[in-house]
Structure formats: C-alpha cells, structure tokens
Symmetry: C3
Subunit: 351 residues, 3 copies
C-alpha cells in the first residue's frame, strides 16, 4: 500500500472530534499498536490493548474520545467515538486512492465480438475477450485478461478482477465482485458408466449470480446440467471453493475457503460454511445453519443447527465425543482393571 496522507487529511477523513499533540510525518501505512513505527497510523479498536498505547511508536493513533493519556513528542492522537468505525472510513478512502474508478472505455487490445453490447460507462481492460452476444452493464469494471463468453451477461456496477472467466450463457447481476481467476460456468462433473466407459452427460445449464455477491480467487462454479446453478443475493464466497452443478445457494450466506459443495445441494439463506467443509450431493442445509471447518456433511441439516466433524454431528455433542475420544487410553485401563478383578471364564464366544 503506497499510502501517503498528512495527519490533517486523516483527521478530516475520520471526522476526528478532538486531537492531542502533533506530527509532521506523512502517514504511509497502518499498523497494530505493538508493531507500528514512525510514519504509521495505529488505533485502539479493542479496550484490552489499552496498555499498549503509551509505548506505541505510531505517528498517529486513533483513540476513543475518553482515552486520557498524553501523546509522545511528535505524536498525534485523534479522538473519535468509535476507532474501529473510523479505521473503516480511512480504509474505504485508501481503497478509493489505490483503485480509482478507471475512465470508461474499451482498451484497444481487447477482442470484442461485433454483437457484444458493452455499456458506454463500462471499462474493459487490456487483452480481454468478450464474445458474441455478451452484455456488460453500466459502470462495470472489467480488468485485464478477463473472458466473457457467448451470450453471457454481466450487470451494472460489477468488478471483474484480472483473469476472471465467465463462460457462455452465464448471468451475473449487479454490484458483483469476482476476484482474480474466478471460473463461472465450467462443465458439471456428470458421467454415465456405459460399457466400461464414463460417457459424458451434456451440461447445458448456466450459472446465475445474484446482486451483491462476491466470489474469491480461483473459485470454480460449474454450470447446471440443465436449468441453473445459483448464488443468491449478498452471499460471499472465499478462495478456491468448488460449487458443483445445480447447487442453489440462498441469500447472505458465507462460504469459506476450500469448501466443496457437491451437485444439486440447496443451501438456504444465512448459512455459514467454514473452511474445507465438504457437502455430499442432493442435500439441503437449512437457513442459518453453521458448519464448522473441515466438517463432512452427509445428511440434511436443520435450520439453525451448528455441526462439526466427519461424519457431522451437532457441535456440542461432537465436542463431548472428542473429549471422551481423548480419554480412550484411560477407559481401556479402567476396563482392564475391572477384568483383572473379575476374569472372564473361557467360553466358546470368547474367540
């Protein structure tokens, strides 16, 4: 981050209610209280780190309005109602500085089919390919080396990072962010085993991404066998996730990195899947359910449930089982002791 802001500029961005001290440093980076140095800005986001403030070497520290210490020489305190919210404002401003909205227009090196329709307010970066009949909406920013296939449609105010590939017929609605290398519309993994060979089942559906979705780097979403694979409004998907054909994901879900969802699974609104979760095919994960990391789901999940383990169990039950599992050496010893006290008579069933 090549940040370069004066303390006055920062005070204005975060709408500081009071200041104490002063610095002439230009602020070049954000750091935690413990690691900040001259030229950094830091912040007290959590009261438990309060004791770290006096020793903090940052040039500027964002503090709650009621923090009553004194800055070091050459150090500026900016007092606000909510330091975390103030930091978010600052980061939002930095984001605008780092990634200013590019001028509309199509880079001359992009290859655009004559029948593609690209809004005049959209930006299409260098070396993109936009195929026949594809549509790109208002103010959408398509970065370098993106592929938009035949009859694919991207809505308004989307941001497609470099190397994104939206295959033919897929639909992306509005305000969607696709991180680097996202694949929308690869073929589903469907075969019929005929005469000793796996014969391909044609995959002729599409992928539909609703409004306000974000999808992480190198994540793959397969097109439906027919009909559509769907990601609902506001859902956020992390990096390297696999979404198989005909999966339907509801609204405002979170799906963390390296999770895999098998074919035809339904995930209802507000579900949260942590990292490296696996979900077997044709299941339903109920509204608001939480699946903890590395869990293997092989049955339907009730709304609101929290599951853990492979096979998946209710969270508290699985925690208890894990504790008892770790006590197996003790249990075996206790049974040994009981048996020594009461040796079994040899019987025919004691093979």
């Amino acid at each position: 981050m090549e940040l370069s802001l004066t303390s006055q500029e920062i005070a204005a961005i975060i709408e500081a209610r009071a200041t104490r001290g002063a610095t002439t440093e230009t602020i070049r980076d954000i750091a935690s209280l413990a690691t900040a140095r001259a030229g950094d800005i830091s912040f007290l986001g959590n009261p438990k780190y309060k004791a770290e403030v006096p020793a903090c070497a940052a040039s500027v520290i964002i503090l709650p309005i009621d923090y009553d210490g004194e800055p070091r020489p050459g150090q500026l305190y900016l007092h606000v109602d909510n330091p975390s919210a103030a930091l978010a404002k600052l980061c939002a401003r930095i984001e605008q500085l780092l990634w200013p909205r590019p001028a509309p227009g199509i880079h001359p090196s992009a290859v655009i089919a004559p029948t593609a329709r690209i809004a005049a307010s959209a930006t299409v970066g260098p070396l993109c390919v936009v195929e026949e009949g594809a549509v790109i909406g208002e103010r959408t920013h398509v970065e370098a080396q993106v592929f938009v296939g035949r009859h694919a449609a991207i809505g308004d105010d989307c941001w497609l990072m470099p190397g994104v590939r939206v295959a033919s017929e897929c639909v992306v609605k509005n305000r969607v962010r696709l991180q680097i290398g996202v694949v929308l519309g690869s073929d589903g993994f469907g075969y019929e085993f005929i005469n000793g060979r796996h014969e391909k089942v044609p995959q002729v559906g599409r992928v539909l991404i609703e409004d306000d979705v974000e999808i992480g780097a190198n994540t793959t979403l397969d097109r439906a066998r027919f009909s559509q694979t769907v990601v609902g409004q506001g859902t956020k998907i992390d990096n390297l996730v696999q979404i198989a054909h005909n999966v339907v994901i509801g609204k405002h879900c979170l799906i963390c990195s390296q999770t895999g969802i098998s074919g035809s699974v339904t995930i209802e609104d507000y579900a949260v899947l942590a990292g490296q979760v696996g979900v077997a095919g044709h299941l339903t994960i109920g509204r608001g359910a939480k699946i903890t990391a590395q869990t293997g789901v092989n049955a339907n999940v009730s709304p609101g449930a929290t599951l853990k383990g492979t096979p998946a169990n209710p969270y508290m039950f699985e925690q208890r089982i894990n504790v008892l599992r770790q006590r197996l050496p003790e249990l075996f010893q206790r049974v040994d002791r009981l048996e020594k006290k009461f040796p079994a008579e040899k019987t025919s069933s004691d093979a």
Copy 2:
C-alpha cells in the same frame, strides 16, 4: 441457456413414439417436474416422481410410453421408451446449438511461434499463445487465452477451454477436454534440505494425458521429476484437484473435486476417488477401489476395496467404528457404573 425450440423440433430430436395434447409455446428451458413453468420442458426420469406429473406446469413433458394420464390444456406429452435417454439426446442437441463447432483457423490476435504446427482443421481462439515447436492436432478447438508451451503436443479433436495452460513438453492425446484454467505441467514440489535451506530438485519430466480424458476447472497436474506424470485413457478428473509429480493414473478412473494425490502414487484402472480425498506419496490404489469423501489414504489399497476415514479403514468397519464412537458417552457411563459397584483398591499403579 438461451434455448428456443418448438415442440415439433423436440419431438423429432427425441424420436417421440407417441404424443398427447398440444402446445404453441416455444421451449426455452428444461426444469424438474416440481419447478417447471410454461415455456419449460420437463420429464419423468424416475417413477417415484410420477405423482408430480398432473400438477406440472411445463409446456412439454417427456413421459414413458405407458404413462396414461391426460395433459393439461396447452400442454404436450411426448411418450418415449426411456425419458432419461430422451433427455440426454435433447441435451446433446442443445449442446451443439450452444457451442457450435467454430470455423477452423487462427484468430489474428493469437501469438503463434513460427515453428509451431497447427492443423488446418484446428481452431485457435483470440489471445492464445502457442510457443516454439508446439503441435495442435486436427479439429482441435483451442478457446481464448490458452497457453501451449514449447514442444507441447495436443492431439486431434481436443477441446481446450479458455485460460487452459499446457506447459512445455507436455503431451495431450486425442478427444481430451480441458476445462477453464487447467494447469498441465507446473513443477513438482521437490526440494532437498541442505544447510538449512530447501534446495530445488529440478523437475524435467512431462505430463501425459491419454485419449478421452476430461479435466476440471483450475485443476493442477505437476510435471514429473523426470519421465512422466500420466492420466490414463477415459479417466475423468473434477475441479481443483491436485495431481503431484510422477503420479500414474490408470484408465477410466473418476477423481472428484478437491482431491489431492501426492507424488509417485499409482492409481489403477477404474478406481473412484470421491471429493477432498488425500493420498500420501508412493502408494498404490488398486483396480476398482473406491475411496469415500474426505478419506486420508496412508497405505496401499487392495483392488476392489472401499475405504473411509482418516486414517482410512474398510468402509463397513469404519461405519461401525463411527457408530460406536457416538456411543462413547454411554460406554463411559456403563464403566462408571461397574466401577461404582466394584471400587478399585488404591494401588501404586493408579497414578
């Protein structure tokens, strides 16, 4: 899917043996019996859904020859011997409509080395790179932004989706489909630990993909340390799979999403690895073995075996262990009860 077919066209494609009713709707999508609406075609693929047919709102329904209900007004029944096979025929036809064979030729924006040999019947899309000495066979379709490295060879009738990368020296035989973002020929992960540093072991082998293989989106296959990493004829690999250096996979295997195969593993013909499986290095998985999802394989697997769990056990045994594991709370209670009945005398070994 921008489908647009009349009911007459569909009847012809699926070779309907009898019809009942009639519709004037143009068919625009395929949907399940429960979700279909006017303009959709649906089908009764599994007798257990028979009760859903009378309420189905599809404009056309594909039904078995002996289904004896009556269509709704404006609805057409098409009767065939096997509705699933009929649907597959329809999907195959739709696939041709969606993705017609492109005209042969090389897009002017592609960068082709002078010594590359590209068959006259092949198609090379926009912004591809084909390096020195590379070969692309008859009727092979290379989509946009593909990379084919030095001396790599792609056979006949292959289909390389956008963004595929085939690194130098790698060989792809005939009728192979590589989905978006597939990587063939990244370096194997090999280092020697010398004087506190990991020194790279050169990886100078190649990847060989035999006939009729399909590989899923963003899957990676490492080149061999020397000699070759091999995927045998007819094997199908899903998205985000990792195949390490010197792995040899036999014919007609299935390897599901997010599975990882460590270096020098041999997988014999007809093996099936479900999703998120891990296989440790230098092992052999026998012919026709089945490895269930999330299993961790750390020993050789006999032909025909079905394994489950980490560490992997025979499937039925692991199922039984899982049942007993869930009964650990009960078992601890039972041992508590026995001990209460027969309290242990304190001994020196009871620490």
Copy 3:
C-alpha cells in the same frame, strides 16, 4: 522431455570417475532401474535396488564407484561418488536445455503502461499486462499472459510462469518462482454483519514475498486488510494452497498442496505443513513444528511439536488414540461381558 544427449556428454556433465562398457545410443529419457529401456539413462540412488541393476535395460546406468558388476552388451556404466547428486547435476543441465534463458526484451504484444519500469535485462512474454508504476527487476523472466498490477514490484532473477497475476501494490523480492496461475493480492475475506447483510471490510494492504520463495500452481494469497501478508525467505508453497489476509509465514517453511491458512495466522521459521491441513485464524505455529496431512489446527502450536488429527493432538498420542478407536468393537464387547456377569440393578439414574 525431448532429451537428446550422447553418453560422452552425460559422462562430462556428471563428471564420471570411471566407465565400464559402451553404448552408441543417444539418451532420450531418464527412468528407474525397473522401467528403463534402450535409449534411457538410469541410476542406483538407493542401495536397496542393487539387485535390479543386472537386469536393467537402460543404455546408461549411473552407479557408485564401488559397484562391481559388468554391463550388458551395448550398455555403459558411469561410476561416480554419489549417483543421486550426479543425477541432480544431469537434471539441472536438462533444465537449462529445456528452458534456456530467453533473450531480454518485451514482446510486442504485451501491454505495458508508460510509467512501468522494466529492467533492460528482463524478459516480458507475449500478451502480458504491466500496469502503471509497476517495476520488474534485472534478469527477471515473465512468461506469457502474466498480469502485474499498479505499483506492484517484482525483484531480480524472478521467474513468473504463464498466467501468474500479481495484483496492485504487491511486492515480490528476488529469485522468486511463481508457478502457473498463482494469484498474489486477491482481497481478504472480511465482512461485517450489519442489518442482515455482510458489508465488505476494505482490504487495502499488500502481499510481500521475500527472496527465494517458490509458490505452486493456482495457489492464492490474499492481500492484508491493512499492512501486509508475508511469505518469508526460502519458504516453498505447493499448488492450490490458500493463504488468507495478514498471514505471516517465516523463513524456510514448507506448505504442501491444498492446505488453507486462515487470517492473521503466524507461522514461524522452518515449520512444515503437509497436504490438506487447515489452520484456524489468529493462531501461531511455532518454529520447526510439523503438521501432518489433513490435520485441523485450532490452537497455538509449540515450537518443534508434531501434530496430527482434527482436532489436532501430539502425533504419538493421536496415533495411540487411533489404535484404540479401532478397538472400540472389542471394548464394547468386553463391557457387555462384564455387565452380563454383574447386571446393574435398575436405579432412578439409569434413564
């Protein structure tokens, strides 16, 4: 590998100390003793395979100086002090032949921003994009279709394989190898849940890759929320790994395929994470710790510890638990037997 070397050339490369026999074959491939054929070179790297030497059909075999058998007709033995080291020398030479350093210069199809600074000794391949203010150092080799974003900086002697994407502001130091499809600088997965929606937390930090790092195909590293995500000197990361925002990895670590590291984790020097490991957020993995495959780490790990399992336990303890877990059927039988001998009286607590 399109290898073509005479036996004299090979003898010179590996500095053979003695020879026995002779061959007129040109050497085209390297193979193990058991699989080698005429035209191959093989080697005895491990004494346990000594009995395979007499039957080996390779045209050239690299052997220890004290191996005393006789070659077959038309076969050449090359004797060296250390056959494995000799093979490494040969592979290094083959690597140079396969991938000669390209001539410096920028391919005319690359799109380079006017303010980008590219060293005169660097090579930038076809269809690359290098954005405003980006820097590429001396002798660095950027292959085809690579993306280097705004103000990103690549050091000297790096090698970026085809399709690598280094997003804006990210920094790569010297002698770094990035395999095909690596993503540096995708956004971290950070949201605040506000009024029923996941609101994006801006991710304005960068990724910093120190000297001598190698990163595998399609691996993703997220930029920091602020400050930086770091990979320390000499660390090697395999394919399809996920490194989340603000992770700090020390020097000379190994991170194997499909492992996922959650946000703000610290991994100290010389740690080794095997394949498909998951690490929960904000933890520290101590110096030299070893985490075995598929382990789920949900607590800090002490320096030098070896962990296994989900939840992670010390390796030897987890091994013991796994053995006892497999003996659960026996344990249940033993408790059954004890109870039969001493039936519980029905009590109110026996629900």
